[in-house]
Structure formats: C-alpha cells, structure tokens
Symmetry: C2
Subunit: 342 residues, 2 copies
Amino acid sequence: MRDAAIPMTTVTLAHGAGGRASDDLLRRVILPALGTSTERALCDSAVFDSPGGRIAFTTDGFTVTPLFFPGSSIGRLAVFGTVNDLAMAGAIPHALSLAMVAEEGLAMNVMRRVLEDVGAASAEAGVRIVTGDTKVVGRGAVDKLFLTTSGIGVIGPGTPPLSPERARPGDAILVSGTVGDHGVAVLAARENLSFSPTVESDCAPLADLVQRLLAAAPGTRCLRDPTRGGIAATLNEFAHGSRAGIEVDEDTIPIRRPVRALCEILGLDPLYLANEGKLVAVVDALQADAALAALRCHPQGAEACILGRMTADHPGTVVIRTELGTHRIVEYPTGELLPRIC
Amino acid sequence: MRDAAIPMTTVTLAHGAGGRASDDLLRRVILPALGTSTERALCDSAVFDSPGGRIAFTTDGFTVTPLFFPGSSIGRLAVFGTVNDLAMAGAIPHALSLAMVAEEGLAMNVMRRVLEDVGAASAEAGVRIVTGDTKVVGRGAVDKLFLTTSGIGVIGPGTPPLSPERARPGDAILVSGTVGDHGVAVLAARENLSFSPTVESDCAPLADLVQRLLAAAPGTRCLRDPTRGGIAATLNEFAHGSRAGIEVDEDTIPIRRPVRALCEILGLDPLYLANEGKLVAVVDALQADAALAALRCHPQGAEACILGRMTADHPGTVVIRTELGTHRIVEYPTGELLPRIC
C-alpha cells in the first residue's frame, strides 16, 4: 500500500495534508528537484553545529508573477533574495529554509521546474536548503505558488559592522552595476512586451562580491540590495539612517539602453525599479577607488561605478544633479509601481 | 513630507512596495503590535551572537481559515507551530522570523489583531521575532493573510539525539493530552457549528514541557507534535522510521467528550485530526513512569497518558486494539480531511 503511486500531474489538497501524498511529494518531487537526498531532510527541523561567531538571520516572501521571466524565476529569486539579505549584513550564507504555499490544481511540472531552479540557485550560491514546509490551499486561495525563504549566515570576525548610521559626509556611494533590469524584465514578461535585445533579470547571488568588497574596503559603512522601491528607496534609507544628505550625478547612473527606452515610453523612473543582483555601498572616500576596483574585478560587479556621495548639506534628503545641471529631489517611493515584482 | 499620514484603515499594495507606506506600516502597526521597539528591527537581517553548540532551524507556512477561532488564531499558531517544531528537536527557541503575505483590502485592524497575537504568543513562549517581511498582493491573489515563521533554537549539550530510528520494540509511547481539539475547533468555527462546552484549540508552546520531559527521561527516543494528519500520521512516521511496529490501546486515547461526539456525527476519526499543543513521545520503557510524571506535573501535560508501545510484531505498521478487543490498522492518512487547518 505504501508504495502505491499517487498521481503526480497536478498539486492536490492531499499533497498538503501531512499524510502519504505529502510524503510522496517530498520524496518524489521536492527532494530530487532540490538535489537533496538525505533522510534527515524529512524532519521538521534541521539540526547542525552552530556556525559560531556572529550570525545573521533573515526571511523574505516571494509572490512574483509570472513565475518564470527572462533571466530568472521565482525559485532563483527566493534563493538569491535571501542570500543577498544575508550578504548585505556582511554574512556568508550557511543554511536556507523553503516554505511553499501552492494552489490546488497547479501543474506538478511547474512546481518541479521552480524547485529545480531553487536547487540550481542554491548550488550556485553555495548554500543548502536544509528544511522546508509545503501547504496546499484550494483554488483561488493563492495565485499559483508563493515561496518564503529564510536564511542563516555567518559573519566573519573581521567584518565591519554595517549600518547606515555609520555613513558620514564625504563617503562615496557605489552601485555594482546597471539599475532597473529586474523590474523591466518582469514587467515585459507580464505585459507581453517584447523588445530587442531582451532585458533579463539581474537576479544573482552577491555574497561572494560582498566578501571581495569588504576585503578591499574595510571602511565600508553599509550595504543594501535595492530590490522593491529600487535605488530611490535605498538611497533614501541611507540618507534617513545617516542623518546626512546624498548627492547623485544623474549621468553616472548605469542604465541599459532598452531599460531607459522602456522607461521613457511608459513614464517610469529607473531609480524606482527593482533590482535583484545589485548592491549599493557607502564606502569611506579614501577607499572608494579600491572598492570600485574590487567590484569591477568580479563578474557581478563588472559595471560598477561611483554614483555619488554623502554630504553635510540637506540632511535626510537625496538630491540628483541632472544632466542639464539642475537639481531635483529623489523622493522616497510612496505608491506601488509594479506589484508582485518579487 | 515624510510624516504625512498614510491612511491605515486597510492594507494597500503600497504597504508592500518597500517605500514610505511600507515603512509606515512597519513603524506604526507591525513593530508596536509585536512589542518590538528597536531600530535594528528595521534591517532586512537580524544580527546576533551565535548561540553556540548545536542549533535547530525550521520553517512553517500558515494558511488557516478562519484567521481567528476558539482558543487561538493564525498569529498564535504561527508562533507556537515553529516553537514546537524546534522543541521536537530538543531545542530551546532562540529567535523567530515572520513573513506575511496580505491581500489588498484586508482590514488593518485584522492585521493588527493577528500581529498582537504574534507578539503575545512570542512573549508567552519566551522568544523574540527578530526579523520579518511583508508582501501585499492584489485582491484574489491570496485569501486574506498567510504567515510563514522560521525559527532558530539551541540544543543543550546534554540533549539526547531525537529520531524515530532510535525507537525500539518495548519502548513506551506517550501523548501529552487530549487529541483532536484543534481540528474540531477550526472545523466548528469554519462551519458555524456550535456546541456546549465549546471546544477550543489546544494551541500552546511546548518547549518548556519538552525540557522537563528530557530531564526526567533522557531515554526519550523521539518526539513529534501531531499537527496535520493527527496522531495517525505521527505514529505511522514513528513505525516507518523505526522499522518496528506500534500497538495502541483505543481506550487509552484521551479525547474530549464533545470532540468524540462531533467525530461520531460527522464520521471523522479523531486520530486524524490536527493538534497544535500536544506531543507524542517514544520513551525507554524503564523511564515511562518518570516521563509520564514529568508531563503530568506541567500545565501543558496534565492529561498525559501512555498510549501504547513499540513492538517487534508487524514492523512499519500501527495497530490499534479496539475497546471490543479486535485489532485494526491505523493507516497513514491519504487524503485531505480538513484543508487549511494550520
């Protein structure tokens, strides 16, 4: 009886009931797709030796639609999003958890493909999914599939404390590459816009890049991955947290040509678009060149640049110097540009 | 501008956008309701000294409907569910994370009440919510509010390894109290069934109870909280994991009278109903009495009893001896009795 095959073409309520179908889903779909083979993975809790030192702990829910889009998917996003939150605290990712809520009737192949992406992304980021949970809800109670990942990371003893409060006037502000790619990739997939070349999501793990940056520039004050709300939100958080002002030069902001073009057509501001594989760093001005060189040596930071600086003027406010020489304030985002971008 | 009040009567997409409304929601609703006041709570990652030793890490999604039901709510369930998963690994809960996915238009008072329950439950369990995430999706993309909690716990140096593989024939099987209360409480709330006395969910934190049990009975082989799938699923997992059989005496299973009555009317088997504040333990037979005494001394274990035993007969199978003296097999649950029970 135990080995009787339960149909595996769609996700059913029984797959979330904690009985035989749940067990089958775990053994036949989830663990193989994740590349996890151990029996220990079947327990509710993962148990391991504490990594020691200081640790970072984070969580993020993912509701992006569509589930797959140019360059990435909800599975990759969930892994890299959590890896990157750990990285922004200066931590090296140690272990991740994965909780799924699936809609009854979801094609099993869709769940499998998402999980294969989770597995591949974990391998790419050098971190394991050590525990998880699956719930299935009736049709209409959730839109296809939502994921929540949590992560534990280890902060090395030499890592500087990272916090916007540590930023001070004169510090340099760096970005690790082009902005707005993820937002445009998801928007284009959702609205069936096609343009050439295709804009792909920048979704990528940043923990290794951060370690290189911190080694080259221990005077790094704070890091943030500019996801929802884009670099506009990140810069405002830095200005607010540091009680200093920020000045950005508009013509230094790296933006891909098709991203800029689409923003012009649709009236979007690329500063407010989500990124999923970029970081913004505030660095001691004396180490700005070393930081820039470290970022540019790394595949994830090849297009890094210095975006602007912290200033004693207009504390708490982000000002952009436009290409025409005028100034405008970069407001903290207030509304919702693109729901379900991550 | 930053202090302009954003209406807080319903949850809007802007509250999940990572901008000013998200910040307002966090500062004005989430942190006060949780009883968390520190600025550090505003970072994506919580950073703390590693608790050392061995740690347990777990995650669980919560999709229960309705959000409030006799004796508990999704907020309490989310905290205690994760605390209990840690407890079943022998761990003392150290830190929790909370990720929410809310539906646009949800009454802010509902979110606030849920979060107040999360805060109160965390205080009751002696653990802090140290990090979190909030997403808002459009109407119809999620049913009101889903939560995902993850947790880190510390396993003390004297704690025995806990795993069904360690159970052996002759071991005693204990349950910490009545079964089926949570399942019946949610079912009754959902279907507007009323009966007297009201059955309340047994939702409760079990970490303290587990520590008392392990101190009294270090020969505890394994623990499990019988949530989805009820004690039928738990006993089958123990039989399967140990490669031994299980024998249960039907007349020893503690079931409240109204739970039994409702099960008879609706044709439900209480062994398959979810519990949220109970544990099932396999304990060395020589320590069974000490274990039982330890459980009964604790408010969460006052109605504990010995349910049955592991046996060398019928390996992998759970057999119940009925009140009439006959035997029947307790099958591993196959379908879904009550979707969205947790």
